[in-house]
Symmetry: C2
Subunit: 381 residues, 2 copies
């Protein structure tokens, strides 16, 4: 049995300018451009092996050890596009094996708990699309490939790049100009760190796709956000990244997170992703910046209560000092070298509800790897 295979890892990204709203649900075309920071794969990544063989009988996907359906319209759209591009390659060189006609076996694993609400679909679709692109030896560049990942999960397109990434919304109805591009590579501003405070939640509010649809359809503030506010913020944030202007980057990040949650609250019925724990963390972060006298840390929240904090490495100790009174006994908390003199507990007596902390940093884009998750029969190892 000849089994062709390629393996790759892809990162999680956390938006600093939020994607919220689709202008085309099938193609995952957004109502606004967005920006994200790619996180280190040392801490959060999906590893995917894509294989194909004339002997495979059907497309199959194993995710974290369990057989998963590949039948979703979105996954099918990705596979179709990838096979079309492979056909183009085969058309140019008739000596190549007709991989586009073979069934695929895909095995995928995350190095972090999927359930924690950590944007696993972005890493997942990026790894899926990137590994198949490698298997098919596609010549397209990453922005081209990102358009395919976008059809799987909008924010997945941003996980095709490391560092600082923009998803340009584009204008075309077919989505051909809605793609990820690099704003700046990791090396440009490498000391960006991220701390994820995993917040336990009673029950997640509406899933992001239906939440977006509801906001687009019902929020009276939404159009103002996407038409008047985000376009300017998009340029300002790119500029802050290029200048490595942390205070501006951080303030834009916090404001955009708040703006996104505001239009969720303005939806009807209202959508709430922040809970009382999230809100206390927001107050704490503003207090840390206030005490410092400048903005040294930013919060951002996706469609859930988890906080992601961004800061520059040289300020880590100050930030950990502010978090220590609340989180020093939480799994993953790194003790600061110094202790703050400010009595945080007199300001916020306690913050319960944080279950885990993941300390990470800015990271690189997808990488091919020699680690394979598939055995010689084309099944999960």
């Amino acid at each position: 049995m000849t089994v062709y295979q390629a393996s790759a890892t892809a990162p999680v990204n956390i938006a600093t300018l939020k994607y919220w709203g689709k202008r085309d649900k099938t193609l995952n075309l957004p109502t606004n451009s967005s920006i994200s920071v790619t996180l280190s794969q040392d801490d959060l990544r999906t590893l995917t092996t894509a294989s194909c063989s004339a002997d495979f009988e059907q497309d199959q996907l194993w995710l974290n050890g369990a057989l998963e359906s590949l039948s979703s319209e979105r996954t099918q759209a990705c596979l179709k596009d990838l096979r079309t591009l492979r056909k183009g390659v085969e058309h140019k060189d008739a000596s190549l094996p007709k991989l586009s006609e073979y069934k695929l076996h895909i095995v995928s694993e995350n190095n972090f708990p999927t359930a924690a609400g950590l944007a696993s679909s972005a890493a997942g679709f990026a790894a899926l699309v990137f590994s198949i692109a490698k298997l098919y030896q596609l010549p397209q560049d990453l922005s081209e490939i990102s358009k395919i990942a976008r059809k799987g999960s909008g924010s997945a397109c941003r996980s095709l790049f490391g560092g600082y990434v923009a998803w340009e919304m584009g204008e075309s109805p077919d989505g051909e100009d809605s793609k990820a591009v690099e704003v700046a590579p990791l090396e440009h501003w490498p000391n960006m760190k991220a701390l994820i405070l995993v917040v336990s939640d009673d029950k997640k509010d509406v899933p992001s796709t239906s939440g977006m649809q509801s906001t687009v359809a019902t929020s009276d503030l939404f159009n103002h956000r996407i038409n008047e506010l985000v376009p300017q913020r998009f340029e300002e944030m790119k500029s802050a990244i290029l200048k490595k202007d942390f205070p501006t980057f951080a303030e834009l990040t916090m404001k955009d997170s708040n703006s996104f949650h505001a239009v969720c609250l303005d939806s009807f019925p209202p959508i709430f992703y922040l809970n009382d724990t999230s809100k206390k963390i927001i107050k704490l972060i503003h207090k840390i910046n206030e005490i410092e006298g400048k903005t040294i840390v930013a919060y951002t929240y996706d469609a859930g209560p988890n906080a992601v904090l961004y800061y520059e490495a040289e300020n880590e100790d100050k930030i950990l000092s502010g978090l220590k009174p609340y989180f020093e006994n939480i799994q993953g908390f790194k003790q600061p070298q110094t202790v703050t003199s400010f009595d945080f507990k007199s300001f916020i007596p306690e913050i319960t509800g944080v279950s885990k902390i993941i300390a990470t940093k800015i990271g690189e884009g997808p990488k091919e790897t020699s680690i394979s998750l598939i055995n010689e029969s084309g099944l999960p190892k």
Copy 2:
């Protein structure tokens, strides 16, 4: 000793179209018009006796048994305006006593706990201004008097009327056209009931005056709300009241509450008045309406976590049935006649944090009363 006195009661009002934002902080001139329902004084009212005498040595105020300062700029503005109007009366009829030159003793009592965050300042300033207007036998109509109450506390101007009340923002820089007017009297739509769910809170977020200032200065969504959304909603809500169209009135009420809290969240730093209890009540209300297949109850939230529910009397049993699984043991809860078949607890397992329930209804405006809180020496009884 000759002591002149007049006593009056004034109601609380709860806005259905929110006042949030001042264009003039000294004059309490709002950035948008607002609408409220006046609540019954049987349940929530301030009783104030205003007295004056040539023998009094200074202006004094006793509030709920304690001597309070009258020195705030806002209270002084009210007293100054009232004395100016009294001077006009005295000027026209020289036989009248010169009450405008006498010091005032004012005694005021609420029939509800001030601390519960129940808009007590609206009832308080309305009773203060109305009782002094009666003491001074001012000929001005209630809209004129409402402009004076407005200087004490913006929303107090709406407590000068019963039933359905609008505060027209006006345009004039001196505030002469920023006044309360009746949209419809109590008798027009008398079956409007209100249920107040008092929600305990760790700590109130910023006071409303500084919150408003922050929103006006920092929210990127705020101008769109006041310029584009509220003016239209103001007309629609008045029209719904005149037509007694409860579903439209209720939907506008809920949307405007959400829009107000959205611009608070969009402020920087963000302002949060809704807590996790408030959010669960919002979800419960949407579920009650969904089960009924039409909108029979509305929620609204001021600058705090307390929910105020509006509904028509004929639907009370349905609403209480939906609330019963969570609140039947809370002080003030009235048992419904029937029990719902819907399993609410499978939808929301529990709602903790409600400490008290006040069942009330639409009510009348300020009234003179023969009950006096002052003895013959001009001191609190």
